[in-house]
Symmetry: C2
Subunit: 261 residues, 2 copies
C-alpha cells in the first residue's frame, strides 16, 4: 500500500489492518485524524500517572482516559488491545516484549491513557510552509532527554524529553504561532535555540529517533515530547505497563481540527 492510500483510509479501516497483523509506522496515515501516544497502567498506578500528566501538560497532554478495564471509548471505536500496529510491554520497568497485540496481557484493572502526539501539529507546520526536516528526510524526529526535570507526582517523575525541528530563523515565529494553536498536542515550543541550556551536548546524537541536519541559518527549536510520560513510567517501575512502539501510534476517531484553538 502506498502512503497516499494510507492517508485516505478511515481510522476504522486502518485499525482493522493493524488488528489483522500489519505492523508499520503510522506517520502519514489517515490524513486529518488524530494519532495518540498510548500508555496503559494498572489502576493502582493510574492516579499518580494522571496527576503527573496534569502537572506536566505540555509533554503529557491527555486526550482521553478509558475507564478501568475498558478497551474502547469516545475517541476510539475499536479495541485498544489489538488496534495499535505494535506495542511494547514493560514489567517492573523492563521491556519484556514488542508485540502486535496485547490481549494476553489484559486485566480488568488496566487504565488506558491516550496522549496527544506532535503528528497533529506537523501537518499544520507543513501547511504554513515551515519545513519539517525529518519528514523531508523520511526518518523519525530526533528526541533528547534534557536535564530539566518534570514536576513529579507520587512515584512518577522523570526528565523532560524534547523533540527538535530545525527552523529557518525567519520562520521561527511562524513555527511558534502555528503550534501554539494546538495546546492539546504539546503546543508552543518549550525552548528555542540553545541546546546547552537543556543539557543537550550533541544534537547529532539524539537519545531517541534519528539525527537530522541543522543547516546554516536554521535554529534548533524544541517541543515537549510524548516520550516524556514513558520515561517517567519507566523510572517508577510499575508492575505492568503497555505502550505503543515508537512511531506506531494509536489512530483515534478524533480529528486534528478538534484540537485547534
Amino acid at each position: 500500500m502506498t502512503l497516499t492510500d494510507a492517508a485516505a483510509l478511515s481510522p476504522a479501516e486502518a485499525r482493522a489492518r493493524f488488528r489483522d497483523g500489519l505492523v508499520t509506522p503510522t506517520s502519514g496515515w489517515c490524513d486529518g485524524y488524530t494519532q495518540a501516544n498510548l500508555m496503559v497502567l494498572p489502576r493502582e498506578q493510574a492516579f499518580d500517572f494522571l496527576l503527573f500528566a496534569q502537572r506536566n501538560p505540555k509533554p503529557c497532554p491527555v486526550l482521553d482516559v478509558l475507564e478501568p478495564g475498558a478497551v474502547a471509548g469516545p475517541l476510539l471505536h475499536g479495541d485498544v488491545r489489538t488496534d495499535v500496529p505494535a506495542y511494547r510491554v514493560y514489567v517492573d520497568g523492563e521491556l519484556v516484549e514488542e508485540t502486535p497485540e496485547v490481549r494476553r496481557w489484559w486485566r480488568e484493572d488496566l487504565v488506558s491513557f491516550l496522549i496527544g502526539c506532535s503528528f497533529t501539529f506537523e501537518s499544520a507546520l507543513a501547511q504554513a510552509s515551515v519545513p519539517v526536516r525529518h519528514l523531508e528526510a523520511g526518518c523519525n524526529v530526533p528526541m533528547y532527554r534534557t536535564t530539566t526535570r518534570c514536576r513529579s507526582a507520587g512515584a512518577m517523575g522523570g526528565p523532560l524529553v524534547v523533540s527538535m525541528r530545525p527552523v529557518p530563523a525567519a520562520q521561527v515565529a511562524d513555527a511558534v504561532r502555528v503550534t501554539a494553536r494546538y495546546p492539546a498536542v504539546h503546543g508552543a515550543p518549550v525552548h528555542v535555540g540553545d541546546p546547552a541550556a537543556l543539557g543537550i551536548t550533541d544534537l547529532d546524537a539524539p537519545d531517541f529517533g534519528d539525527a537530522v541536519e541543522v543547516r546554516p541559518g536554521e535554529v534548533p527549536v524544541f517541543w515537549a515530547c510524548g516520550v516524556t510520560p514513558q520515561a517517567a513510567v519507566m523510572e517508577s517501575r510499575p508492575p505492568l505497563a503497555i505502550a505503543h512502539a515508537p512511531g506506531h501510534m494509536l489512530i483515534t476517531d478524533a480529528r486534528d481540527s478538534d484540537y485547534l484553538m
Copy 2:
C-alpha cells in the same frame, strides 16, 4: 476591616487571619491573587475525581493537586487544613458540619484539589466595563443545576451546574471574549440566552446563591460553575469529603494573571 483593606492584603496575611478564626466570604480579598474551590478526598476516590475533572475541564479546571497527606504546595504556602475561612465536611455524601478548621478530620491519605473559580474572570469583566450584577448588588452569584449531565468517570457523575450573569446584549461578545482568555477558570460561557435549553425553568429561583435582576435588553449568560465538582462528589457519596463553604474560598499564592492566555 474594610473591603479596601482586605483587597490590599497578601494571601499569606489573609490566610493568617482565617487561621486565627476569622470567618468571612472572600470576594474582593487579595486583589490580583487567585482564589480556588477546594475539594479534599481520600486517595481511593481521588483517581475517579481527577478523571472526572479531566473529562469536564470547563466546570472543573484543576489548578493544582497536593500529594496525598500534603497540606501545602507550590500554589499554597500555607496549611490547607486551617487557611480557608470556613469548611464543609461531608461523610458518606451527607453534610455533617461547617467548621473554621479541619485538623481533627485530617488523614494521611487525603488528597486536596484546588479548582479554578470565576472570581478570577469577574475582575477582568469589570475592567472591560461589562457589568457584574451580583457584585453591584453585593450578593452571591446565582447558580443553577442544569439537565445537562457531565461526562462521568467511575463513580463520579452529576449535573452541570452553571452560574448566570445578565449582560447587556451589546456587550455579550465582550463577555465571551474576555472570559475565553481564562480557560483555567471556567473560560468562555457554555450557553447564552436560553435558560429552558439547560432545563432552567425560573431564573428567579437559583439552586445556589442569590437571584439577581435581569433587566430589559439584557441576556442571561451562563458559565460552567465550580459547584459542579461538589455536586458530583455528593452524588458518589465518598466516605469523607471536605470542601470550602460557598463563597469562602481558598486564597492561593498564584496570580490571576498567571491564568490569562
